[in-house]
Subunit: 184 residues, 2 copies
DNA sequence: GCGCCCATGTAACTAGTTACATGATTCA
DNA sequence: TGAATCATGTAACTAGTTACATGGGCGC
């Protein structure tokens, strides 16, 4: 299978839940899936047009009065088929690109204090991300209630991944700070 | 500071260790830093030319007889200054894009067995990555010996980050497989 | 003799970002 | 009255990838 833009599938996936506009898709990305995915406006609008042209999504225009008319996109049968095909495929790992490590290994001449500050900042950012994940967890639990629906399980598993990852980074930061403080 | 290609800094960083050719840089990426960084040939050759034009790297051509002449690049004073400036800057977190989670949350209609297979594969890939990291760790220890040089500390810290991250993913896979197997 | 390694590069492309442009509505 | 939200888009760009092209050297 030739690799295509992941944005296509992200948008198709979201549209498979509810029909919505480009604007709404952006909101959904920023709110519901921001812990593991992101998109920007320009790209959303661009890809939506492609999806429409290829018949994977359809568009219904609502007049809003004043504002630009709202284009509500919905997934088509073809779109759903393409989404489902993608969903079945295994996930190829992305080649790693950890800027913080890259920077670290070239930092022989950088004052240790500066490195410490970077790691502390990095740690704080990851703590924040962990908090966001936990908030997401609470939201899902609220919505899903007690009857174990499959979608809620899947979202919880996704959320849990964030918890593991961010905790690992935070642990590493703490260990690293210990070592670096010993080097001063 | 305007954000620039990270490849620039990766190449400058490696050239700050040793002068080398585009081909060597690719090898260095694949061998020494592959656990946390990657580059591809085309981009390396392209960016090297830019660096040369901007005076951040210089080029010395060695005749090889037969083969294309080997262009050995070295970092200039200006290049070193730019690298050092970058090294001092804090690292902005990359917006997250975890394809496996994205796929997971839209997989309500995907057979659980297929999801299990994807996670198992993902786990295996991360186990392999963890092994590579551990091998890297051994190599560094061999090279660095016992006298605690700063560069060796920094590389070990970097390596350690990989250990934490991959372990976290593997743990998550195991937990997730348990849950999914309970859903069948 | 075959395949991998050395060693370079270009052309064409795709994915994604930044900056810009517009303008009504709603709420404090 | 001023900021945030709703709602769309284009132009220009940067970063990075894929596919292609070349060809000798070296080991098995």
């Amino acid at each position: 299978m030739t690799t295509k833009s992941k944005t296509r599938y992200a948008l198709l996936g979201i549209l498979s839940l509810y029909p919505m506009s480009g604007y709404d898709l952006k909101k959904f990305c920023d709110e519901a899936v921001s812990q593991f995915w992101n998109e920007n406006y320009t790209h959303i609008y661009t890809v939506l047009k492609q999806l429409e042209k290829e018949g994977l999504a359809g568009k219904l225009t609502e007049q809003t009065g004043g504002r630009p008319p709202k284009n509500v996109y919905h997934i088509t049968e073809t779109g759903r088929a393409e989404l489902n095909e993608w969903l079945l495929q295994p996930v190829e790992p992305d080649p790693p690109r950890f800027e913080i490590i890259l920077k670290l290994v070239f930092s022989t001449d950088v004052p240790v204090q500066n490195i410490i500050e970077k790691i502390e900042r990095y740690k704080a950012e990851n703590e924040l991300a962990l908090e966001n994940v936990k908030e997401g967890e609470r939201k899902i639990k609220d919505i899903a209630g007690t009857q174990g629906e499959k979608w809620a399980y899947l979202w919880m598993i996704g959320i849990n991944s964030g918890k593991h990852s961010y905790k690992a980074v935070i642990d590493w930061c703490e260990e690293t700070l210990e070592i670096l403080k010993g080097m001063k």
